[in-house]
Amino acid sequence: MELVYAVCVGFMSACGIFLMLRGHTFTLVIGLTLLSYAVNLFLFASGGLTIGAPAVLNGSENYADPLPQALVLTAIVIGFAMTAFAVILAMRGRSDMGNDHVDGTEPFDRLAAEEKS
């Protein structure tokens, strides 16, 4: 179970980072969302993975660590707000600058220019 979980988190982070390396705000937002999903899962697993155990200290030996779940909840809320802000900012940038490149202007593409001429 741990291996599958770790591979999933790793794959998701890799996808997120790959998308964030693009220069456009749209892919950046998608990449950021994937990365924050990955980080939420990662935090969730940081207390160790247990199956069928309650998330409270009920006196028995078998319980899931409650703290990471509280942390994840906070992280989800904050991540959600931040993503909303980033989307609005990206839209504002798109309408102000006329394109969605993070630098405000599309870099000069020599190949495309040659093809046109």
Binding site: M20, T25, L28, L32, L35, S36, V39, N40, F42, L43, A45, S46, G47, G48, L67, P68, L71, T74, A75, I78, G79, A81, M82, F85, A86, L89, A90, R92, G93, D96, M97, V102, D103, G104
Partner: protein, 505 residues
């Protein structure tokens, strides 16, 4: 428990309640009422911060357990000498910024005052928290306020710079969470004192994971602090935003420095067993290179605000040097210099704002234009600040740099630190003289139409500039307190001590 016992949480609660109150329609509709309330709240925060400072001086470290849940289970705030100094600094800065903005800067966009209050709440919280996850939460509070403040007033350039700033910091926040998860996985706690207790006890197969978590945190804090190579966002961001916001941001890089000090200087410091001082081999070259790159950029700056932003980078490098020297004496010198450099840079940003208003289209760029209507007084303040920023006597920059140079004891370190810090001072001297000449002397014709600076703006600048000579006149008291702060910082705090202090309080 009286009200006095809850003093530690006031620097977080006051801005929070004031910010919420400011959002109600009866206050939100009237700019005059907003100004009165924020300035009153800022003055109250200065008073509270200094009362707390004297309380800590008399009674030692204060610990506040929220809801009386004891550590490591509950959320705790820890106010020691270092954190209370930072809270005082942010309160004074907050007062200057709200005063300055009341002259008209707050009219350029909505919600200026509530955002400033939320920003101060986040900054104070980050200084006072005794828990790594709450550090993250307060970072987010101050960041989301700063995202909006940076765009205050709008404009294409601000939006474009803000896109870089926001996305960089969002990535930083994700990495912060990864680092926290990693550390929680091996240590099983996020309370600073508890973490420091458990780090030396780690088994050998957990060492590498903990180390990677700690170094990931270094990258996150380094991004906030603008240390090389994560400093590229800073000059553009600080130079394009409005003057009061840039002045308030002067303390934001210091939040990063403060966190590096707490986590990598102390928690992973000398007492950390196998993981002792893991960040030092990285910090040392990075600190020196940050000073060097900052100094080079200072020379290449084409406007006063860019120049000042690059001086912020130089000061970050200097502070990183004092962290990586890893002695109590160096820490004390660093804390003194931190106070000085934050105040001086913030005042320079405010001054640049007035200069920009009076020069019309030339703004604060080093080009020939008509004289400023109030060139005399502006020039006087400029010279004072320049002396402070360069580090010449008689102002506090000199004392700060002298203390830092004095704290370098090993010849192998002095060979690097002395030339770099003195060289950066020389470069600042050259660049600021050139800037002053261009702004005040290279003029053609009189300018009768430009706006006059308002008294409240000068009051705000005067408040900050006045601190520089005060830090020299009361230099003994300030450096003694910095020494106390450094000793408390370096001694660290174990969970047992923490709970003892909390129970006595």
């Amino acid at each position: 428990m009286g009200l006095f016992d809850h003093l530690v949480i006031f620097p977080v609660l006051i801005p929070f309640f004031v910010a919420v109150a400011l959002l109600f329609p009866s206050l939100n509709n009237s700019l005059a009422r907003q100004r009165v309330l924020t300035i009153a709240a800022s003055i109250l925060m200065v008073v509270v911060a200094f009362v707390l400072l004297f309380k800590i001086k008399d009674q030692g470290i204060q610990v506040y357990a929220l809801g009386d849940w004891s550590a490591p289970f509950g959320i705790i705030l820890v106010a020691d000498a270092f954190s209370v100094l930072m809270v005082c600094l942010s309160a004074v800065l907050g007062l200057a910024v709200t005063l300055y903005a009341s002259a008209g800067e707050d009219k350029n966009g909505a919600f200026f005052h509530p955002l400033i209050m939320f920003q101060l709440m986040g900054i104070n919280g980050a200084f006072l928290t005794g828990d790594a996850f709450n550090l993250f939460v307060f970072f987010e509070v101050l960041l989301i306020a700063s995202y909006s403040l940076m765009m205050h007033g709008g404009g294409k350039q601000r939006i474009q710079v803000n896109i870089h700033y926001v996305f960089l910091n969002l990535i930083g926040s994700s990495l912060f969470l990864f680092a926290l998860g990693t550390l929680y996985g091996t240590l099983g706690t996020l309370n600073f004192a508890d973490m420091a207790d458990r780090i030396p006890l780690l088994s050998s197969n957990e060492l590498l994971i903990t180390k990677s978590g700690a170094l990931l945190l270094l990258a996150v804090f380094g991004l906030k602090a603008a240390m090389l190579p994560l400093h590229f966002w800073l000059p553009k961001a600080y130079a394009s935003t409005s003057a009061p916001v840039a002045a308030l941001f002067a303390i934001m890089t210091k939040v990063g420095i403060y966190s590096i000090w707490r986590v990598h200087g102390v928690m992973f410091g000398d007492q950390a067993g196998e993981l002792a001082n893991i960040a030092l081999p990285w910090l040392w070259p990075i600190a020196l290179l940050t000073i060097a790159i900052g100094a080079v950029s200072v020379l290449a700056s084409k406007s006063l605000r860019v120049l000042c932003s690059n001086l912020v980078i130089v000061s970050v490098g200097t502070l990183l040097v004092t962290i990586s020297l890893n002695t109590v004496q160096a820490a004390a010198a660093g804390i003194y210099y931190l106070l000085h450099s934050t105040v001086a840079c913030a005042a320079m940003f405010l001054l640049a704002g007035v200069i920009q208003q009076q020069r019309g289209k030339a703004e604060d760029r080093f080009v020939t234009t008509r004289t400023m209507p109030q060139a005399g007084i502006l020039g006087f303040i400029f010279i004072l600040l320049a002396i402070g920023l360069i580090g010449m006597p008689p102002l506090s920059g000199f004392v700060g740099k002298a203390l830092i140079l004095q704290s370098v004891t090993k010849a192998s370190q002095a060979v690097w630190v002395w030339p770099l810090i003195l060289g950066a001072g020389l470069i600042a001297l050259i660049a600021l003289s050139r800037a002053g000449t261009a702004l005040f002397w290279r003029t053609n014709g009189e300018n009768n139409t430009a706006l006059q600076g308002q008294p409240v703006q000068y009051l705000a600048i005067g408040l900050l500039v006045g601190i520089l000579p005060l830090m020299v006149i009361f230099g003994g008291a300030v450096s003694d307190f910095a020494q106390l702060a450094a000793e408390q910082l370096k001694a660290g705090l174990s969970l047992q001590q923490l709970n003892e202090v909390a129970n006595n309080g």
